[in-house]
Subunit: 438 residues, 2 copies
């Protein structure tokens, strides 16, 4: 899984818009998603994003365009979620990707001149995107040292990082039912909050609503039997692909409830994912050996150590627009920008640690990094850090200040990869607008 140039870079794609320099979805990306077509409502299908279009895999199968693929792959691509494809293995994912590349480029399998080309290549903007998999379990980690140190210093000034933090990827089980796709409104949650650490609390709408800039990744391949561990090197083979994830958080609720069993209702009301799953194969050219360790960091225990381990350099940008800005058509204000490479724990380590007890994983399970922050102020991935608990408010383009999110605000996270000599590949958007408490 070391950095390696992707040979498909030179391939010519005939789809309009696929070679735009600022586009997210060139032929080198080919992320998988699930959507409803406007003419096939209630019938979600698998698509591949390409330029401003998306390829309808079920329709391709119907027209015989998947001929040559193994029947198990074609069957998986006809399903209403990505779970079937995720349940196959890396060789099958490569075969599916290579086949789609062939359809969209100028070789022997090209569908450029196919009579049914317009029936399978749909305008992306017309699609109603869905959460791409039936997520059995969702687990959220805490993999950024910058984030853990920043937040820890606010909640526990004497001991920002717990003694365990550099030995294991701290994580917790999250709520799968409330994972929604890009664009779904977020209702401001109620909860118990207390002005003091000792109480008494009151119940009402959260006043400290926050976003968390994260990357999620889907488990793929055969699930491990309960009782069996997945090694860190094997774990890399189970990384199907990544999405942007916003783990919306009610900070005032979290502060009062989180001891001793961790965050619960402060995180269970909504998590938003971007709709297109960017595969590890597409991300490979942007992988970097690592993460780097500082002097004084403890040695990894053997089950978390892998000489070929890697992080991915995904630039992550958070944008915020007030209701007034949206109404006026004002461009959103950038709140932060950072990179997924700035994590202490890798995806492979998170997955290996998750199964270290023999916990069984299932295709479609979603794991996430936790908030990704970097060394600079502008790299901080949530409002709690970015405004330092509200003491350093951000000024939006309309002149108003933000300490935390307000009703009517729309928050957008974007992610993309760039490297000299390679085209940009992107994740699309992960958006949510805040609705008043009910």
């Amino acid at each position: 899984m070391r950095r390696k140039l992707d040979m498909t870079t030179e391939t010519h794609c005939w789809v309009p818009g696929a070679t735009r320099a600022d586009g997210d979805f060139p032929i080198q990306n080919l992320p998988w998603g699930v959507a409803e077509r406007s003419d096939r409502q209630g019938e979600p299908r698998i698509f591949v994003a390409i330029g401003d279009s998306a390829l309808d895999m079920a329709e391709c199968a119907g027209f015989g365009m998947l001929a040559g693929l193994a029947p198990r792959i074609e069957a998986a691509l006809r399903m209403p979620t990505l779970n079937g494809l995720m349940a196959l293995d890396a060789a099958d994912w490569t075969a599916a990707r290579a086949h789609v590349t062939g359809l969209l480029t100028s070789g022997a399998h090209s569908i450029e001149k196919h009579a049914r080309r317009d029936a399978v290549l749909i305008a992306r903007a017309s699609l109603k995107m869905q959460v791409p998999a039936a997520i059995g379990d969702y687990t959220d980690f805490y993999a950024s040292e910058f984030h853990a140190t920043n937040v820890g210093s606010m909640f526990r000034p004497n001991q920002p990082l717990m003694p365990n933090w550099k030995y294991l990827p701290v994580g917790y089980h999250g709520r799968a039912s409330s994972i929604v796709v890009d664009g779904t409104p977020v209702v401001r949650p109620h909860g118990q909050t207390s002005a003091t650490d000792e109480g008494p609390p009151t119940f009402g709408p959260s006043k400290l609503l926050d976003h968390e800039l994260e990357v999620g990744f889907f488990f793929g391949g055969a699930g491990n039997a309960m009782g069996n561990r997945i090694s860190v090197a094997e774990a890399a083979k189970h990384l199907f692909g990544c999405v942007i994830l916003n783990d919306w958080s009610a900070r005032d609720v979290q502060k009062w409830e989180y001891q001793p069993l961790g965050p619960f209702t402060a995180k269970n009301f909504c998590s938003t994912v971007s709709p297109w799953v960017v595969t590890l194969e597409a991300l490979r050219p942007y992988c970097i050996p690592g993460p780097s360790r500082k002097e004084g960091d403890p040695a990894m225990l053997d089950y978390l150590r892998w000489d070929n381990d890697f992080v991915v350099d995904v630039t992550l940008e958070v944008l915020l627009a007030s209701a007034a800005m949206r109404a006026a058509g004002t461009a959103p204000t950038r709140v932060s920008i950072g990179s997924f490479k700035d994590v202490y724990w890798t995806m492979s380590q998170m997955l290996a640690h998750h199964t270290s007890t023999g916990c069984n994983m299932r295709p479609g399970d979603l794991l996430a990094s936790g908030t990704i922050s970097g060394p600079a102020k502008e790299n901080r991935g949530c409002m709690l850090e970015r405004t330092w608990r509200g003491t350093e408010p951000i000024t939006l383009a309309d002149g108003t200040e933000r300490r935390f999110l307000q009703d009517g605000d729309e928050l957008t996270i974007r992610g993309w990869c760039e490297r000299p000599g390679l085209p940009r590949i992107g994740f699309g958007e992960c958006r949510g607008a805040i609705m008043p408490a009910r």
Copy 2:
């Protein structure tokens, strides 16, 4: 939902063994389960336990024995999990129960003389029981004040109960994939443990493997839309039924990992449920107003207060047998006995709090009480408490001592309800034997 005598008490059931005084499954119980018949492997079906038998609902439907039930109920009873039945409402659950009562008693709908009676009434011992529902999300609470105080005093001697504990039902999201049914072996998990609070840790098999005596309850009825809360009074209508649950825990792993985001791998390797879901309707005669509050306990916040709230008096017994005892046929040693009535937080409160942020529940979601302990030493629901962190070992019938669970040990939890003038109804068993670490 106040205590009320169940009129079906007087009904005569013709099924052999159904009126045995020490049986779990008289006509007043009628719990739902899912199982494979030995002659229908790979084809799970819904059953109702009665005496030493179980009624095959799909087979009943095939022979027209469900005629008169609404088609949606019959359709739900033909499904391979209980999720369809759980998705209906309390009136439908009552109708289904009344219909089954009619089949198994001497009235007009009795199947006692039906030609296909032996085709639908199967020996329970021949069934391979399954986890009764596809569990979308699993949440574990911490609802016993005795347990929270005991454990808290070990982990945090200065502050056994956190300031939040009496204001909200503390809980955390658990792992759904590793929920297994009665009888499934439990592989001793690996994990990071540390002799000191500061580390460094080592990785290896857990030495402090424990059980947790809990009651689980399934969410039923229409799920709430994301953003909408369920009130505590409404919550009671969404309680489909209860099971015994053993949330196996690696205490040494838990101690090192749990700060600050709560238990994670220490709990994700296995949780065992008893196979028969005892409905709230069957439990109603054993419900008691409450729980009682002590002087000095704070007032409930409004969203958790309901004058008709209740606890259920389910006697819960934990039995332990070593490998040697099992081989010799020695009866297991009782480790503890307590009651589900000894909780501080009710099922309705746990569910209302869970949705207080607008978190959406789905039929089949499983919530659990957390370890149930009572005031006396014999009421302590886990080894950690029962042996007071290993300082007061238990002596088994074979003369060996236990501080925590050993390889080859089999732990069994039983639960039942009794009340003068009413028959005993029971939950069956929730068993697991410890396999060596892999």
